[in-house]
Symmetry: C2
Subunit: 142 residues, 2 copies
């Protein structure tokens, strides 16, 4: 099911430059704002707003998808901590913000939302490189 005018429905309908990988019930995309490096969205393929709109097996698949990306990152980027957030205040289509908190983080004791900043968009070459590194990490699963 897709919902007309939902930007996450539009996003998961295609790949685009930010697409990283397809998972069981979701697709992973790099966050175009890389102010917090390697931030990723894990977007549910179908439209739903809240965890309790999913069947138990969909919920299980979704948390295993999120975990797969989180674990891949940890092996490669070794963040000090991770933040995995299901918010949707502006776009109520289930998408997890997966945010590794790495060395040099400007506000390590708090969630990332307190720092006003201009979006940090990467040049195309760096974008491809970062997506490639994450794909490689995902390929070494298990």
């Amino acid at each position: 099911m897709t919902v007309s005018g939902c930007v996450m429905c539009e996003r998961v309908a295609g790949e685009g430059d930010l697409h990283i990988a397809d998972l069981e019930v979701s697709r992973a995309y790099l966050n175009e704002d890389q102010f917090f490096p390697e931030g990723v969205f894990v977007v549910l393929r179908r439209h739903a707003s809240e965890l309790y709109e999913l069947s138990p097996s969909e919920r299980t698949a979704l948390i295993q998808d999120v975990n797969r990306v989180a674990a891949a990152f940890a092996r490669v980027f070794r963040p000090a901590k991770r933040n995995d957030e299901l918010l949707g205040n502006q776009v109520p289509h289930i998408h997890w913000h997966l945010i590794p908190r790495v060395a040099g983080d400007p506000d390590p004791r708090w969630p990332v939302w307190r720092l006003e900043h201009a979006p940090a968009r990467l040049p195309a070459g760096e974008l491809r490189e970062r997506i490639g590194a994450i794909r490689e990490a995902l390929a070494t699963d298990g």
Copy 2:
């Protein structure tokens, strides 16, 4: 396993005034700061910092625990949106922040972390009442 000096290990070892309910692999407690009303912590019983430190079945049980609390809330408090966040920047023991975003929310388009505020602690009577309402909601599962 408990870790000496971990405040979440200490919390899940006892009930205390904020305890709401025991779930499969976690315990639910009211957030003592009720500036965002009905905010709850779902705290993993054992000490672990990240999703990928759990077995697949523990992860599944944990997301079903989180969902059970989220669904109970939704039936009773009918929030406009929910935020379910796994952070741990200051206390790296898995605990979810379950935050219903209700009518009158002071910053509905953003996560709750941007608003500096003094903690809103409830008088004992109101605290018991709020915990009672959440327990009642949980008791009407299924």
